[in-house]
C-alpha cells in the first residue's frame, strides 16, 4: 500500500513536469478532435505521430499517446448525442438515449453528464490500475475461449432487452445483424463467406459504414421527411446544464458504469464495447422505470459513457503488468515502448517506475483537463443544433463519407454506407429497431471466433462450456435471463387461459 502511494507521488512528479503537462494537453485535445470526427479514430492518429515519439522521452511519448486514446472516448459521445452518429462501436449504445435526450431538447445535459461520467470513470479506473492492476490482469488471463463465448452469449441475449417494441422483431434484427457480421473471410481460415465474389466484401462490412448508414444518415432522411422545423431537431435547444433530477438519476449509473468498465476493459479484444453494452443493460435491468430507456433516459447515457472511458484506461493493465496488448491501440503503445528500448511486463514497475507511475498519474491529470476542456465546449456543440438543416445535413453527410472512406481508403465503403442508409430508412419506416441489429453484427463474429476456438482447444468436446466455472456461471445467467424474459408472457397466457 505504501509502495502505491510512493509510486503515485513519483508519478505525479513525472506527470506534472511542464513538458509532460503540455504533451498531455496536446494529446487529449487531439484525441477529443479525432473522437468527434466520425470514422477517424485513435489508431491512425497515434500511428501518424509514431515517428514524432522517437525523439521524446518514453514517459512523455506514452503520456501523449494515452491522452489521444482516452480523449477520443470523450469526443466519441458528442456525435452520438448530437447527430445519432456512433464514431466507433463503444459509443454506439450512447446513441439510443443520448440522441433521445437531444430530441427532447436536453442535448446539453446529455453532453455534460457524459463528460462528468467519463471523468468519474477515469478517476476510478486510475485508482484501480494503481491499487489492483496486477490482480485485475489475472482476471483477464483467467478467461478462456469458452468463458468469452458464454459472456458474449449473455450480452446477445441481454440485447433483446434493448428493444422497445416487439421482442420477435428484436430477435429478427439480432439474427439479421449476426448474418451481416458473418460476411467476409472466415475468422480462422482463408475461406470466404457471403461475399458473392465482390472484392469489397472480402473483409466483411466495416463498422463505420454500417453504423453511420443505419443510424446517422437514416436519421437525416427521416428528419428531412418530417421537416417540421428549420433546424435539425425541430425542437428548442433547451437548457445547457443537467437538472437536479438528471444528477439524481445518473450518479449511481456513473458509479456502476465505472465499475463494469474497469473490470471488462481488462479483457483483450472488445473490452470497451462489451463494457458499454453491459453497463447499459445492467442499468435497464436495475431501473424501476425501464420503459423510459430508449426515449432519452439520462442513465442510458451516464452508464455506457462511464463504462467506455473506464474500459479505455483499464485496457492498459494487461500491457503495463503483463506486456500483453489488449487491442490495436495497445499494440501501438507497445511499439512506442519498444522503440524506446523499454520492455513492458511484470518487471516494468521496478525497472522503469517513472514510466509506469508517470503514465498512471497522467491519466488522472488528462481526465481533469478533458473535463475542463469539454464542459465549455458544450455550449458550442449545442449551438450547432441550431444551424439550419440545409447547411447541417450536407455537412454531416460529407463527414460521414470522409469517415467511411478513411477507414480503409476504399471508395466502396461509401457505397456500402449508402446502401445501409437506405436499409436503415426502411427499418425505421417499418418500425424495426436498428440498435439490436448492430449489436448482433458486432457480437456474433466475436462469439463465433471464441466458440470455434473453444471447440478447437477441447478437440470438439462441447462439455467445455459447462466444466469451466466462469463459463458455467454466465450460461446460468443466460438461462435466468431467458426465463425472466419469457415469464411475463407465460403468466399472461395462463391468466387468459384461466379467464376463459
Amino acid at each position: 500500500m505504501e509502495q502505491v502511494f510512493d509510486g503515485l507521488l513519483l508519478g505525479a512528479g513525472v506527470a506534472l513536469q511542464p513538458t509532460n503537462l503540455l504533451y498531455c494537453f496536446l494529446g487529449v485535445l487531439l484525441g477529443t478532435l479525432v473522437g468527434v470526427l466520425p470514422g477517424i479514430g485513435p489508431v491512425p492518429t497515434i500511428a501518424l505521430l509514431l515517428p514524432v515519439t522517437y525523439g521524446l522521452p518514453p514517459s512523455t511519448a506514452l503520456i501523449t499517446a494515452a491522452g489521444i486514446y482516452y480523449g477520443a472516448q470523450y469526443g466519441g459521445s458528442t456525435t452520438s448525442i448530437l447527430c445519432n452518429l456512433p464514431g466507433e462501436a463503444s459509443s454506439l449504445i450512447t446513441c439510443i438515449d443520448g440522441h433521445g435526450m437531444a430530441r427532447k431538447g436536453e442535448a446539453g445535459a446529455a453532453l455534460a453528464i457524459a463528460a462528468v461520467g467519463s471523468f468519474v470513470a477515469g478517476t476510478a479506473a486510475t485508482v484501480a490500475i494503481a491499487f489492483v492492476g496486477p490482480p485485475l490482469a489475472k482476471v483477464a488471463s483467467a478467461f478462456s475461449a469458452a468463458d468469452y463465448f458464454s459472456l458474449i452469449l449473455l450480452g446477445l441475449i441481454g440485447s433483446v432487452v434493448l428493444a422497445r417494441g416487439s421482442v420477435v422483431k428484436a430477435i429478427a434484427m439480432i439474427v439479421l445483424g449476426a448474418l451481416f457480421g458473418m460476411v467476409g473471410a472466415d475468422p480462422t481460415s482463408v475461406q470466404e463467406r457471403l461475399t458473392f465474389g465482390i472484392p469489397a466484401l472480402q473483409d466483411g462490412i466495416g463498422f463505420v459504414p454500417i453504423a453511420m448508414g443505419l443510424f446517422g444518415i437514416a436519421e437525416i432522411m427521416v428528419n428531412i421527411e418530417r421537416a417540421t422545423g428549420r433546424t435539425m431537431l425541430g425542437a428548442t435547444i433547451g437548457r445547457l446544464w443537467p437538472s437536479r433530477e438528471h444528477w439524481r438519476r445518473s450518479w449511481r449509473a456513473i458509479l456502476r458504469g465505472s465499475g463494469i468498465g474497469t473490470v471488462l476493459g481488462v479483457l483483450p479484444g472488445g473490452g470497451a464495447v462489451l463494457a458499454s453494452f453491459a453497463a447499459y443493460l445492467a442499468e435497464k435491468r436495475v431501473s424501476r422505470t425501464p420503459e423510459r430507456f430508449g426515449t432519452g433516459a439520462v442513465e442510458g447515457v451516464a452508464a455506457p459513457e462511464s463504462a467506455n472511458n473506464a474500459a479505455a484506461q483499464s485496457s492498459f493493465i494487461p500491457l503495463l503488468t503483463l506486456g500483453i496488448p489488449a487491442n490495436p491501440v495497445m499494440a501501438l503503445m507497445l511499439a512506442i515502448l519498444l522503440i524506446q528500448n523499454i520492455v513492458p511486463g511484470p518487471a516494468l514497475v521496478t525497472t522503469r517506475p517513472d514510466v509506469f507511475w508517470g503514465v498512471i498519474a497522467s491519466m488522472w491529470v488528462g481526465n481533469l483537463m478533458l473535463l475542463v476542456l469539454n464542459l465549455p465546449l458544450i455550449g458550442l456543440w449545442v449551438r450547432l443544433l441550431g444551424v439550419p438543416y440545409r447547411y447541417l445535413f450536407p455537412a454531416i453527410l460529407v463527414f460521414c463519407c470522409i469517415g467511411a472512406y478513411s477507414t480503409g481508403g476504399n471508395v466502396s465503403e461509401i457505397w456500402i454506407m449508402l446502401a445501409f442508409a437506405a436499409f436503415g430508412y426502411a427499418l425505421l419506416k417499418l418500425k424495426f429497431e436498428p440498435a439490436p441489429m448492430l449489436l448482433g453484427y458486432v457480437l456474433a463474429p466475436l462469439m463465433e471466433e471464441h466458440f470455434r476456438r473453444a471447440l478447437g482447444l477441447s478437440h470438439g468436446d462441447f462439455s467445455v462450456f459447462v466444466t469451466s466455472p466462469i463459463s458455467a456461471v454466465f450460461l446460468a445467467l443466460c438461462a435466468a435471463l431467458i426465463a425472466a424474459l419469457a415469464w411475463p408472457a407465460w403468466r399472461r397466457r395462463r391468466e387468459t387461459a384461466f379467464r376463459e
Binding site: 489508431v43 491512425p44 497515434i46 500511428a47 501518424l48 509514431l50 515517428p51 522517437y54 483477464a140 488471463s141 483467467a142 478467461f143 478462456s144 475461449a145 473471410a185 475468422p187 480462422t188 481460415s189 482463408v190 475461406q191 470466404e192 472484392p199 472480402q202 473483409d203 483483450p268 479484444g269 494487461p318 503483463l322 506486456g323 500483453i324 496488448p325 489488449a326 487491442n327 490495436p328 491501440v329 495497445m330 499494440a331 501501438l332 511499439a335 519498444l338 522503440i339 528500448n341 520492455v343 513492458p344 511486463g345 511484470p346 480503409g408 481508403g409 476504399n410 471466433e449 470455434r452 476456438r453 478447437g456 482447444l457 478437440h459
Partner: protein, 316 residues
C-alpha cells in the same frame, strides 16, 4: 471550414510541382502502400523507412494503409496504378507467393509486380510457457508422435504463412499437431501462459520472452536477438522461406526509375534509424537487391505451392 482551404492549397502545390518538374522523378508525392493497419510491425518499419527514404529519393513520401483481404487489395492497387514510380508497395511476400496458390482469381497478376529490394524479415518462433513439460523442441515432436493431433498449437490463421511454414516442419518430423486459429495474438499469449494451449507459432513482436520460453526459431541461421535459441534447421527440420518483404513497384515502371528506387532503397536500408527499428522489432535481415529479391520470391512460391498441396487447402 479549414479543410477545403487546406485541400485547395495542397492541390495548387501539387499542380505547381507537377509542371515545374515534369522530367524529374519524383514529380509528386510517392505513396508507400502498406497492406496492414497502422501500428502493425510492418507498418512501423514502413514509417521508419519512409522517414529516411524521402531524403534519399528527394521527394515527399507518404505511408498509406490499405489493409484487408490478406493484403490483396493493397497489392491490386499498386499493380493497377500508373507505372511511374509514385505508387509503391511496402509489404511481405504472401501476396505474390502464397495467395496465387490459394485462389482462382486475384485483383492483380504476379507478373504485374517488380520487386525492388528486400529489407525486412518476420521470423516465427515456437513459444511455450516457462513451466511447460516440453523442455525442448524434440519433446514437442515426441509428444506429437505419441498422440497425433492431440497436442494443440495456436497461430494466426489456417492457411496463413506461419501455418504453412510450421506444417512443413511437422510433416518432415512425421508428426501431427492440432492447429487452433487466433485472429488476435493478444488472446494467444494468455492461453499459452495459463496452460490452456500447448504452444504457439508466433511472429516476432507478438510475444515477450520472458515470460514466454522459446524452443525454436523457424529459420536457417540463429537470430541475433535470441542467440541461444536453436533454429529449426539446426534441429533437423528445415523451414524454408518464412515471411520476408520489402519494396515493390508496378512491373511496367521505366527501368531508370526502378534503378533510382533500388539505389535509394539500399542507402535507406543502411541508415541507423532504419536499422534500429528493424532490430527493435526483430525484423532485421540481410539486404537483397531486385535480382536477389526476385530469386527469393520464386523459391518461396514453389515452396508454398508444395505446402498448399500437402495441406490440401481448398482453392476457391
Amino acid at each position: 471550414m479549414i479543410a477545403p482551404r487546406l485541400l485547395g492549397l495542397a492541390l495548387t502545390a501539387s499542380v505547381w510541382a507537377g509542371t515545374a518538374a515534369a522530367e524529374k522523378f519524383p514529380s509528386r508525392p510517392i505513396q508507400l502502400i502498406v497492406p496492414f493497419t497502422a501500428g502493425n510491425v510492418v507498418d512501423i518499419n514502413a514509417r521508419a523507412f519512409a522517414e529516411v527514404f524521402r531524403s534519399e529519393i528527394g521527394g515527399t513520401v507518404v505511408v498509406v494503409n490499405r489493409d484487408g483481404a490478406a493484403g490483396m487489395i493493397a497489392m491490386g492497387a499498386v499493380a493497377n496504378a500508373a507505372p511511374d514510380g509514385h505508387t509503391l508497395f511496402f509489404g511481405p511476400n504472401g501476396q505474390l507467393t502464397l495467395q496465387p496458390h490459394l485462389r482462382k482469381s486475384l485483383p492483380y497478376k504476379v507478373e504485374q509486380i517488380a520487386p525492388i529490394c528486400l529489407t525486412f524479415e518476420s521470423p516465427f518462433a515456437i513459444a511455450v510457457r516457462p513451466d511447460s513439460p516440453h523442455k525442448t523442441f524434440a519433446d514437442l515432436v515426441e509428444a506429437g508422435r505419441k498422440n497425433p493431433g492431440k497436442v494443440s498449437y495456436g497461430l494466426s490463421g489456417i492457411g496463413s504463412v506461419p501455418h504453412l511454414l510450421f506444417h512443413m516442419v511437422a510433416v518432415r518430423a512425421k508428426t501431427e499437431f492440432n492447429a487452433v486459429a487466433y485472429k488476435n495474438y493478444s488472446l494467444l499469449a494468455p492461453d499459452i501462459l495459463e496452460g490452456r494451449i500447448d504452444f504457439g507459432v508466433m511472429a516476432f513482436g507478438s510475444f515477450q520472452s520472458p515470460p514466454m520460453k522459446l524452443l525454436a526459431v523457424l529459420r536457417e541461421k540463429r537470430h541475433p536477438r535470441y542467440k541461444d535459441v536453436p533454429t529449426s534447421t539446426e534441429l533437423g527440420f528445415p523451414a524454408e522461406s518464412g515471411a520476408f518483404g520489402g519494396l515493390y513497384a508496378p512491373a511496367a515502371t521505366p527501368k531508370p526509375i526502378l534503378a533510382q528506387l533500388e539505389a535509394a532503397c539500399e542507402r535507406t536500408f543502411k541508415a541507423a534509424s532504419v536499422q534500429k527499428m528493424l532490430d527493435d522489432t526483430g525484423a532485421g535481415t540481410e539486404y537483397e537487391g531486385s535480382a536477389g529479391f526476385a530469386r527469393r520470391l520464386a523459391a518461396d512460391s514453389a515452396n508454398k505451392a508444395e505446402a498448399v498441396r500437402l495441406l490440401d487447402l481448398k482453392v476457391q
